[in-house]
Assembly symmetry: C3
Homo-oligomer: 317 residues x 3
């Protein structure tokens, strides 16, 4: 693996999953792979799980890590060509990416969708620019359109908990007080389909995801119908893609309840965290044995460590 921006950088998903399960069994198996190598974690947006799980994954590989919080330091990057840089942007991505890439062996970046301009967010300007100007492998720690490390952790969690070879997986929209990006939902859809599972997506009208994410999944507007016989129920809020960045509904009837979980095939509940209790899902579900939210979050170390292991091995070739 050269870089990890999306599922498209994964040439062999079953092999990657096998790696992940092996690493989970023995987290220190590749404890010297990162020796004399270093990684920079760049956060243009806040982070808890991603920040901590990435550092833990690096510890397990003996990889030195520097963390750069860009937001708090007001680092304003220029991305345009030929611009006269006489306003508030002090540095061009060309220099920033080249310099950071000259210091570190791997660069991981978080840059959320701004939810203002769909074309801008979906052009993946930050990730694509780093890929273009940074001479070393890039890892996506959540971008405008995707969160592949989360989706990979979700997939590991399903692999560990599935009772049938091809489980029914339901992604359900749920209400939230604020507009959120589509990144987690987009990546989840892509990875679940890449793994050849049976995916159903359910949401109110107006919340249709981008076609490339939906793929061949079944879209059902009635949540209860969608949940029927589900093996895994993945709840997530996202703002509208068509009416970009808007909150079209806060309808509490879309919250996942124990009653709704009873419609499933003893289904497991999933969410990427942080989760708003009694808004996205009720306490009874989260606090039950059906909930996989902690194992999912735990697997964030495994997904990052597996990606790093593959990138570091590719470097040594």
């Amino acid at each position: 693996m050269k870089s990890f921006l999306s599922i498209q950088d994964v040439s062999n998903l079953p092999a990657l999953l096998k790696d992940a399960l092996e690493i989970k069994k023995n987290p220190h198996l590749y404890a010297k792979l990162g020796q004399q190598k270093s990684m920079c974690l760049i956060f243009l947006n806040p982070s808890l799980r991603t920040r901590l799980s990435a550092q833990k994954a690096a510890f397990n590989l003996g990889l030195s890590t520097a963390v750069l919080d860009v937001g708090s330091q007001g680092w304003q990057l220029e991305f345009g060509d030929g611009i006269i840089m006489d306003s508030d942007k002090a540095e061009h991505i060309k220099e920033a990416a080249a310099v950071i890439g000259s210091y570190f062996d791997v660069v991981a970046i978080r840059a959320f969708a701004k939810l203002e301009d769909r074309n801008e967010d979906y052009s993946e300007q930050v990730m694509e620019s780093f890929k273009k100007y940074c001479p070393v492998p890039i890892i996506n720690m959540e971008s405008g359109t995707g969160h592949p490390l989360q989706a990979f952790a979700d997939l590991i969690t399903i692999e560990e908990n599935k009772m049938v070879a091809k489980p029914k997986v339901v992604l359900t929209w749920a209400p939230h007080p604020k507009p959120l990006p589509q990144a987690v939902a987009n990546s989840f859809c892509r990875w679940i389909q890449a793994a050849n599972f049976d995916l159903t997506i359910t949401h109110p009208k107006g919340y249709e995801l981008v076609d490339e994410a939906v793929g061949k999944a079944t879209v059902v507007y009635n949540q209860q119908n969608a949940l029927d016989g589900a093996d895994f129920v993945y709840a997530k809020n996202w703002s509208s893609y068509t009416n970009y960045g808007k909150v079209l509904s806060k309808d509490p009837d879309w919250m996942v309840t124990q009653e709704k979980m009873n419609l499933t095939n003893q289904g497991k509940f999933m969410h990427c965290l942080p989760v708003r209790r009694n808004v996205i899902v009720e306490d009874a579900v989260l606090d039950s044995d059906q909930s996989l939210v902690i194992p999912q979050a735990t697997n964030r170390v495994i997904s990052m460590q597996t990606v790093l292991k593959n990138i570091l091995e590719e470097m040594k070739k």
Copy 2:
């Protein structure tokens, strides 16, 4: 030692002190004890000494460390049960503590008293919630009611400098422009009494500490009387416990001066730092050979390293 929230987690104080003095002599004695282990330092409030001494202690033990500054990232935690989380708090302590505890082997937390609601501060909601929901050992890096790592460092400093087996130790309130927590004073009282030293507390009326901290100490409202024959003078400001969080006095007559130190038994001066010069204590005292403030601060590495050593050893059992 499983966790370190207060003196109550110390089963054998003389043995812990012996460990500390041994570690001080040879800081790299347990240089491999933390290998393949990791710690998360969570700061809900700013920190200088605690942040740096904790990292240094971890370096000395070969323990990998990740630092999470929560305040600057606006991470708002919900602690209540059954709450509909539709306002500004994005994550519940149940998930946050469980996830961080799944990544790291030890979690250390700083969460100051807010000085608004005594019941809330003295319920130790943050520490107790982490203890409840986090599956790994917790270390208190200053909480609403205590600062045991400071008190332990203070005790080490007294051990190193005492001229008699049972020295007279005086804790004196001193003025400060802002309301401060009682945490340092509370813990100092508990640890000094646990070590069986002779403790006198002196402060203006209205500054009485919580009964559990005062214990069997002598309380004297006349500072000069209290200082008579003291071997150690520990100055500290705190806001009122009875009139909770209020500054009742800024009386400069309570400042520790060289003249007052002359009343002591060639007493040593102590303070946890940062110290307001010529407000808490005058320059002449701080800049004299009587002052132990730098050795105290230096011992913050030793207290943290000793606690970590005991926690890591308990883990291997």
Copy 3:
């Protein structure tokens, strides 16, 4: 080397340069020199290159590092003697420097010029106070009047790229929308002259640098005349020293263009970054083979690592 505050701490510049070139060839040559040692990086101002290159240099030497961002935590230090500290400054440099120096083996500090009071900036209060009160070696990561790690990296870059033994080096002022310190220009002048190269400085009237920096360099007010036959063109903005901290000109005619570079002896272009494209220098120059800005930034790891190597070796004597 005991500390590294300026070129005056370098007793043998050719030997230091030789060290740097050796380290560049083999970055892991001294991989164990920093074992069981630790460094604290203190940032009173934001940083990207310095922060990351310092951490990378430490990784290469096996040196543990803690980072302290002071600005974001509002740490206000008192520097005055005999002050009654009853306002917003919570800690005196005497304690702060002594404590940090008791935790770490090396302390590196960034503290920009404030550009308000020339005497204050040029007294180097922060660096000099740390040097006075901190018991361990100090490294200047950019101070009120100098940025020697940058100048050393620049010198390494010139050594690597020079075609003649004594190249003509031109430092040219260039426009910028905001007032900037003179630190980079000052140190560049000192190091270039210490290396015995031929230095010409060019800038509009009113932008004369402090005499100690200008030294025996040629000052030319006509930029085109200055560039004639240059082997290296170093562009940098600075605010006025005589009319302290003021922006006297934003004249775009001082921008470095390809046309101006054609006046040189196939000269190389240099800048310390971040650089405002099409304000300081036009795209055509930055994107050409003449530009050394990325190699310069890359050499920031080498300059820091060489300084650390010398400081660590001195410690073992």
